[in-house]
């Protein structure tokens, strides 16, 4: 069968189950776009290529599928780098298709030529430059396989123009088999048995769940495991939703802005079972002091995550879901009598940490950002898909919105990428049209990709944006307040657009609240509007995120409200 490169691309994308692409056309991808419009694949035209990648990220997380984006060569490709780096840090399965100048021109500094494969080598899971149209189908299949297997991640395919418009005799590729890529999925059973023994012997156990649990779709198994063994659970930022946020065993987030009880439980536990985490510095604080009384078990599919930052006693390489399933089976067979009596004291201790030092803030005449998030949680009954920007808004979202399900909290965790929330909300809304999607934003970060309001409007995506508007780059301001003698160097955004008018200029709905009394009414109206809405909450300018562990300090050294 004679097919053009662009037709092969579409054919294989369809075979891989792709129904949506986020992209932006340009000279080098004209042929691809020409083939794309002749398929039933939905294309979401963004306003900036960075947003295409963030949207594909949001789409991947909300749908559990591989996110796909398509951009042109040169600036189109370089604009994707931030989004790719964010997806790479958060292990989000994604395939990025970039146009490239014809192979004969590569290396000649041609118009809109960049070495995007070279640029993205350190921030992708893998990348390809297609040099033969005959390789195209195999490369796409491999890219999807790599993106979604093992520890997922973004894979970039660079497509020179002549590879795309050449016509070849098409032979369907075989299923990808790569001798150099074979992730370990099946955990060592002897190691798992040791965990069961440790659980039986432990007086003060705790579970630390991360994004790996969400990615492995292992939330049900984790929940069963924790309940069966009666072990309290805390999460990393990426792990929120991996365990029900309203369960009595839930301790909240761990780390720099973690709850008092989660941080204290980590410091005092005698057994820490870490599942799908990589012990980021924002979680551990001072590594020597981290869980220093505990035997640490770590389950992760990526061997490099183990022993990287924190030495562990029982390393288990494998898929979290498989490991937890097996652990649950072992627990069923084990004699767990007397366990709950022995844990009583520990659980009481945790309860007293919780009741003496709950997450808290002081009400004042001005709107408190935490109050807005609390109200949002209440009004949406915790069912909304929440995306965030980065900074204080992200931390308040993590602290005051409680996630009972996985894939409902979509945030740029590892890279901490401002401008993520709106495009991610767009991607999530495309994946879940029936859901309420809310971007919790700050006035600083929303301006980084505000142009995507036009994307939301063009594609009728009724995303809701909650701006916690404090007139500052709040998180940096908070560090300046605490560690730089309140020298607010360039963190005050003296000028901001009128977000209500801005919403209206885009054809969306703009609402504003300036007093605590208005918050509920504005949220109710905004959430019930069947259109994209920007809700501008003018909040207490110098509110801080607490608890806070100063960078590099032990996580028990918390600054509290």
């Amino acid at each position: 069968m004679k097919l053009k490169g662009s037709q092969i691309l579409m054919k294989v994308l369809k075979e891989e189950g792709v129904d949506t692409i986020f992209g932006y056309p340009g000279g080098a991808v004209l042929d691809i776009y020409d083939a794309l419009v002749k398929t039933d694949i939905r294309h979401i035209l963004v306003r900036h290529e960075q947003a295409a990648v963030h949207a594909a990220d949001g789409y991947a997380r909300a749908s559990g599928k591989v996110g796909v984006c398509l951009v042109t060569s040169g600036p189109g490709a370089t604009n994707t780098v931030t989004g790719i780096a964010s997806a790479n840090m958060d292990s989000i399965p994604m395939v990025i298709l970039t146009g490239q100048v014809p192979t004969a021109l590569i290396g000649n500094d041609a118009f809109q030529e960049v070495d995007i494969v070279g640029i993205t080598r350190p921030c992708t899971k893998h990348n390809y430059l297609v040099k033969k149209t005959e390789d195209l189908a195999r490369v796409i299949k491999e890219a999807f396989f790599i993106a979604k297997s093992g520890r997922p991640g973004p894979v970039l395919i660079d497509l020179p123009k002549d590879m795309i418009n050449q016509v070849i005799d098409y032979a369907p590729p075989e299923e990808p088999r790569m001798k150099s890529y074979n992730p370990t999925c099946h955990p060592n059973k002897k190691q798992l048995q040791k965990v069961v023994k440790l659980i039986r012997d432990s007086e003060k156990p705790a579970i630390f769940a991360g994004g790996g649990v969400v990615l492995a779709k292992a939330s049900a198994e984790l929940t069963e495991f924790a309940r069966k063994a009666g072990i309290p659970v805390m999460g990393s930022l990426m792990g929120l939703g991996a365990f029900p946020g309203t369960d009595p065993l839930w301790l909240g987030m761990l780390g720099m802005h973690g709850t008092y009880r989660a941080n204290m439980a980590t410091a005092h536990c005698d057994l820490l079972i870490a599942v799908g985490v990589r012990f980021d510095d924002r979680v551990t604080g001072k590594t020597d002091a981290f869980a220093s009384n505990a035997t640490i078990v770590q389950i992760d599919i990526d061997p490099t995550s183990i022993h990287k930052n924190i030495p562990v006693s029982i390393p288990i390489v494998g898929d979290c879901k498989t490991a937890l399933k097996h652990l649950n089976k072992l627990l069923d067979e084990a004699d767990l009598s007397g366990l709950s009596a022995r844990r009583r004291q520990w659980l009481d201790q945790i309860e007293s940490w919780k009741s003496t030092r709950p997450l808290a803030y002081c009400q004042s005449g001005k709107i408190k950002p935490q109050y807005v998030v609390e109200k949002l949680y209440e009004l949406t009954k915790g069912k909304a898909l929440i995306t965030t920007e980065v900074g204080q808004n992200q931390m308040w979202a993590a602290q005051y919105y409680h996630f009972d399900q996985p894939n409902h909290f979509i945030t740029s965790g590892g890279l901490g990428c401002m401008g993520f929330g709106l495009p991610a909300a767009i991607g999530a809304q495309v994946a879940a049209p029936e859901k309420l999607v809310v971007d919790i934003a700050g006035d600083g970060s929303i301006q980084m990709n505000i142009q995507e309001m036009a994307t939301a409007m063009q594609h009728n995506l009724p995303v809701k944006i909650v701006i916690l508007n404090n007139g500052f780059l709040g998180m940096v301001r908070q560090w300046q307040e605490l560690f730089y003698d309140k020298c607010y160097a360039h963190t005050c955004m003296d000028f901001a657009p009128d977000f209500v008018k801005l919403a209206e200029a885009f054809g969306a709905v703009g609402l504003r609240a300036t007093t605590p009394e208005e918050v509920e009414a504005v949220l109710k109206e905004g959430l019930s509007t069947p259109n994209a809405v920007i809700m501008d909450f003018v909040v207490e300018p110098e509110e801080g995120v607490y608890p806070m562990v100063p960078s590099g300090a032990p996580i028990t050294e918390m600054l509290l409200v």
Partner: protein, 162 residues
């Protein structure tokens, strides 16, 4: 903690960009490369990269895991103890004034190396051996005057059971 020398032998896909992935991994994560050698194996689809790195043990473990994580890396071996042979080659262009010629040839003889190029004022000496042998030879030739030197870096292979 000791920064010991570790020899890593890495089998990789023989494709463009693979070396860059590996050197990029070392530079991006702040690991050292003391020397690096790369060439095709008997299978033209596979290349062998030999890297000498100095790092503490936990870091070397992390390096090996990170290398294994690269899609194009097929296998990573760490060569340790006496279970492997290692060799390095150097070409040393040494000042050879008439009064030194006999001495240079005597040293060449003792070290069982070869003079591969002769000029009016220089000899170029080819030497193969362990790093220690090479540095011993260089120490002896230095007073006579080394004009230029080039080294290959270490290549190494496991010994097979006797």
């Amino acid at each position: 903690m000791n920064h010991e020398k570790h020899v890593l032998s890495i089998l990789v896909d023989n494709e463009p960009g693979v070396l860059s992935r590996i050197s990029g991994l070392f530079s991006g994560r702040g690991y050292n490369i003391d020397s690096l050698c790369v060439a095709e194996t008997t299978d033209p689809a596979i290349s062998r990269i030999t890297i000498v790195t100095s790092a503490e043990m936990p870091v070397v473990e992390q390096i090996k895991k990170q290398l294994n994580k690269l899609i194009n890396v097929i296998k990573v071996y760490e060569l340790t103890g006496s279970e492997f042979v290692e060799r390095e080659m150097a070409l040393i262009k040494v000042n050879a004034q008439p009064e030194h010629r006999a001495e240079i040839l005597r040293i060449v003889d003792i070290f069982r190396c070869k003079v591969v190029d002769v000029g009016l004022t220089h000899y170029t000496v080819e030497v193969t051996g362990t790093e220690e042998k090479l540095s011993a030879l260089i120490t002896l030739l230095k007073p006579i005057g080394i004009k230029e030197i080039v080294k290959t870096g270490v290549v190494a292979l496991f010994r097979d059971p006797k």
